[in-house]
Assembly symmetry: C2
Homo-oligomer: 269 residues x 2
């Protein structure tokens, strides 16, 4: 059986958008059928669980509240997200950011010195990606002797209820090209980000299974880190992902519910 | 003398923005000192002259009127610009564009079929580069079986009177990354674009000298085409351009006036 590749897991890392729910619309999103029950099954099984997201359109607190409201059993300390991770980096390296992020993410940077910026942090700013705002970030970077661009993820696009939307990676590439620099990615697929999620769970990469809808950033990133990885056929999944020239998932499944059933079936085999 | 590298020219190609004038502000721009006289000197000398621009913020007619108003001796048929070139390509290849361009460029596409688009054309759209507009272009491209992205130039940035501004190249890169495609560039540094300017002049590449402020798109592009090329220290010029890892101009001069004086001095040597 193909599912045997998932045997003997100690813990599961779950991407959120496109795996648990599709974001967008008035209610903030729509749960993917079976995903709420799948999360409960993982918790009941005794498997370790960490949510590993590149979501940067809201603070982690607000994001978790939305998911709880949608019926998910999830808590703030179970979520590994880019904004808290980048704040640690900013403090360690004494960087003062100019922020090009979603308005609702700004409270995460409340105790960060933002005067006289010496770097730029970009997240999924959505409508804040105006020409003026991208140009302001560009002008700061091009004026720095050692320009530092920290990107909260590098996704190409994500799926909302009304269609595909450009993600932060497209704008990261625009600034990289304009300034002839390389961004540092904080979030998936960066190894350090996956490792911090594993540290929270207290397990090793070979004991963990990542489940995501992004063939490069979820599946490829987790595999680079030594984990097994499953792609779900929900969210931004497209059939051509299964012929990706560089990344092959350990397993492709229809949705999270199917992935969890297989993991539990092979739990002690 | 270093200037001898420019000896024996038959014709001159001039970039416009950053060479003749700096754009922006209420009057539409400010002439660079000595540039109006330099254009007159070229014309009086009997040298062939063609203006070769990536300008796409206005129709060629309107752009030329603005330059005439600023005191330049210039006519529409002396200007090689991307919009007329891309219209020829659209017709030849039966492409129906979705346009992501400056409002003032739209009249150039008056007789082009834009229904049911099967490609995207992007130019220097400036404030039209909103998240919504870039996302609309992205959604069209990602839905096409054979996505075609035509980019009017690929500049990283240009200089206006109030500072550096992001150019179309940054947004071209964003769409290339989001859709995993390669844009086709219409404009400098594409060889076909330089060749069409030379055809207008009726001269061969080795007889021509390109003068521009962009080390990659003006200087590098013209040299790839077999021309000699001069970089002026005006417009978007930055001192680090003179240590560019891949492109070395045949000559660096302070401004257009100096370039023209040297070319005329070595005209028959």
């Amino acid at each position: 059986m193909a599912g045997a590749v998932l045997a003997g897991a100690e813990g599961v890392l779950l991407d959120i958008s496109g795996v648990l729910y599709d974001s967008g619309g008035d209610g903030g999103g729509v749960p993917i059928p079976g995903s709420r029950e799948a999360v409960r099954k993982i918790k009941a099984s005794g498997l370790k669980l960490q949510f590993c997201t590149n979501e940067t359109q809201a603070t982690r607190d607000k994001f978790v509240k939305k998911l709880q409201h949608l019926g998910f059993d999830i808590a703030v300390n179970e979520v590994t997200a880019p904004a808290p991770a980048v704040c640690r980096i900013l403090k360690e390296r004494k960087l003062r950011p100019h922020l090009l992020v979603h308005d609702d993410l700004i409270p995460e940077f409340a105790d960060i010195d933002k005067t006289n910026p010496n770097c730029v942090v970009i997240g999924d700013a959505a409508d804040n990606f105006s020409y003026k705002n991208l140009n302001d970030a560009f002008q700061i970077l091009i004026s720095l002797e050692n320009p530092v661009l920290l990107s909260l993820g590098r996704g190409r696009y994500y799926k909302e209820t009304d269609g595909l939307k450009l993600d932060v990676g497209a704008y990261m590439k625009a600034l990289e090209y304009a300034c002839d620099i390389q961004a540092e990615v904080v979030g998936k697929p960066a190894k350090m980000f996956f490792r911090s999620a594993l540290t929270e769970m207290g397990i090793e990469p070979h004991q963990a299974i990542m489940i995501g809808d992004d063939i490069v950033n979820d599946v490829g990133g987790a595999q680079q880190c030594g984990m097994r990885a499953v792609q779900v056929r929900t969210g931004k999944y497209r059939p051509c992902d299964e012929q990706h020239p560089e990344v092959k998932a350990d397993l492709y499944v229809n949705n999270l519910a199917e992935a969890v059933d297989i993991i539990l079936k092979y739990l002690h085999k």
